[in-house]
């Protein structure tokens, strides 16, 4: 007779260590982000004074600090939101390939945003803000949310309304939605090629942008992320039990339709807010949860919060690297993430084949 069955299992220190490490990466990245840019570096203290209060900075400096800090805060929240969204969908569908992109939520949001950009006649930094004040970006954000919800609501209705849609069917539906949205997006781009401002704005949107984020956009993405984080205690254990299948979870007492609807809604909301604030940023939703899972396992009570930290760290690090190495290029973060993320992901697949297949 072993004794393990009578003593509670030892608590692994892994999740706390990883959490502490990722929190340090957040801080270090944030401080680093304040140093990157065409003018002089700034300190955390100066950022505090520019953003919150205290002895005022020189007016120009204050604006620059503010812009850099908002850029960094946007990267953290957008990365965190995409990663939590991906972790939710991977858990819900028991599928390592699930992500907001796969379900078509990102495409829907992008299509909505593209329509708004085309309707506004451009989305260049400056042009939009100057021409229409804050109404323009708000318009784009609202359309992105509408686009994401237009994809999401039918999905929640079908999957959460007592229906018994299969996971492959849902993933296939996501692919169909993706194809539809990509086609419509291409149509919008073709029809607006003659307008340089619109074409440039749509191109920028395609790979995401962290340039010139306004305070309200930062607030929007952090608000959505906070809502997402609040939902974690309601579904973490339930997602663990769903690993054995919907019926098995139901037999153990999980209200599967409720969990499914909540997870779908929250993950779509997170993806929509991220896309509407920063455009299409690929790989974070897929990569960050996998990274966390490979380090600490797939218990959702640790996986979900740590995915937020990992996603934020991933996106802000990618942005900082890009700005440090290629200061003039102003590459979109999605480009860097693709260049770093795709090979890294292939490496993970090759080296961790057993873990991924057992999962």
């Amino acid at each position: 007779m072993g004794t393990s069955e009578l003593t509670p299992p030892r608590r692994a220190a892994g999740p706390w260590l990883l959490g502490a490490a990722l929190a340090l990466v957040w801080l270090a990245d944030f401080a680093w982000a304040l140093r990157l840019g065409p003018t002089r570096p700034f300190s955390l203290d100066e950022a505090w004074r520019a953003l919150v209060g205290g002895a005022p900075l020189d007016a120009t400096d204050a604006i620059i600090v503010r812009l850099r800090a908002l850029r960094a805060l946007t990267a953290l929240s957008v990365g965190g939101a995409l990663a939590l969204s991906g972790a939710y969908l991977q858990g819900l569908f028991r599928n390592a390939l699930a992500s907001p992109g796969v379900l078509g939520v990102t495409s829907g949001a992008s299509l909505g945003a593209a329509l708004a950009i085309a309707g506004l006649g451009g989305f260049g930094p400056g042009a939009l803000v100057e021409s229409s004040g804050r109404l323009g970006p708000l318009f784009v954000t609202a359309f992105a949310l509408v686009g994401a919800l237009a994809v999401l609501v039918p999905l929640v209705f079908v999957a959460g309304g007592g229906g018994r849609i299969s996971v492959p069917a849902l993933l296939l539906a996501g692919m169909a939605v993706n194809a539809l949205c990509s086609g419509l997006l291409a149509a919008v781009q073709s029809l607006t090629l003659g307008n340089f401002e619109v074409a440039r704005a749509l191109f920028a949107w395609g790979f995401g942008t962290l340039e010139d984020r306004a305070g309200w956009q930062v607030a929007l993405s952090w608000g959505a992320l906070a809502l997402g984080a609040l939902s974690i205690p309601f579904v973490a254990l339930e997602l663990d039990l769903l690993a054995g299948g919907d019926e098995d979870a139901a037999a153990l007492g999980v209200s599967v339709p409720r969990v499914r609807a909540l997870v779908l809604f929250v993950s779509a909301l997170l993806a929509a807010s991220a896309v509407s604030v920063a455009g299409q940023i690929v790989f974070v939703g897929l990569l960050a949860p996998h990274f966390v899972r490979l380090v600490i396992g797939s218990a959702h009570r640790a996986l979900l919060p740590l995915s937020i930290l990992a996603g934020g760290a991933l996106l802000l690090t990618a942005d900082c690297l890009q700005r440090a190495w290629l200061p003039g290029a102003n590459l979109a973060p999605g480009v860097v993430l693709s260049l770093i993320g795709a090979p890294f992901f292939l490496f993970l697949l090759a080296s961790q084949r057993r873990e991924l297949s057992s999962w």
């Binding site: 069955e5 037999a251 797939s298 959702h300």
Partner: protein
Amino acid sequence: MLRARELVYDYPGGRRALAGVELSLAPGELVCVLGPNGSGKSTLLRLCAGLLAPAAGTVELAGRALAPLSARERARELAFVPQSLRALPACRVHDFVLGGRYARFPRLAGLFARAGAGDHAAVGAALAEADAAELGARALDQLSSGQFQRVLVARALAQEARLLLCDEPTAALDPEHQVRVLLLLERLAAAGRAVLVATHELNLASRFAQRIVLLCEGRVVASGPPEEVLRPEVLTPVFGQHLHFARSTGAPARPLVVPWPASDGAGNAGGQ
């Protein structure tokens, strides 16, 4: 304990799975549901477990209707032991069995509440009762089929439910482990639980069931003690001609039914 009345269920395609099935089960009873493939055994178990909703008819648990209960309330009253899982969670046996405690955790247990000492003790007791005490620290994907089946039973025991519904618990097991699982279920019934087992194993049902419910095409065609049900005139119309009937030796002597080509002749009268 469990009482099903006039259960009717249609498959999603519209084909009738069950057409007015009656079933009752008392504490301390082990009842086997037999029937050919597609006769509705698994569907009947899922209806009794509340995992499917009947088109007509009712299921009652200790006098209370099952349908209005929430999933959590159901899971405290009855435990469903599946034949297998869609996917094996990547965790240790102890943590897997702890999943059986879910319906007894406080609400919102996900992030804040830890499983208490009582839950871990219940897991330990369930593993011990299911002859799986030594498996607690093993990874779930390193178990043999027989060990995994015992772990599934242990998880059901951790639910502390008075009713166990087992869907083909001996499928994919060798004879040694088939008997061990049934001995385990027999012991659980003797300890006061009600156990309902859907199975293809006519001889295990003969030895272990106090009653057998024989399903064919969604209807109960026979119900009673093994001696009454496992007879040629009852089974041949249901399972066809290829059966050989005999009796076990020893006490208690029970009917034995073996798949055997009818062309070999002379078997069907044997032992009766």
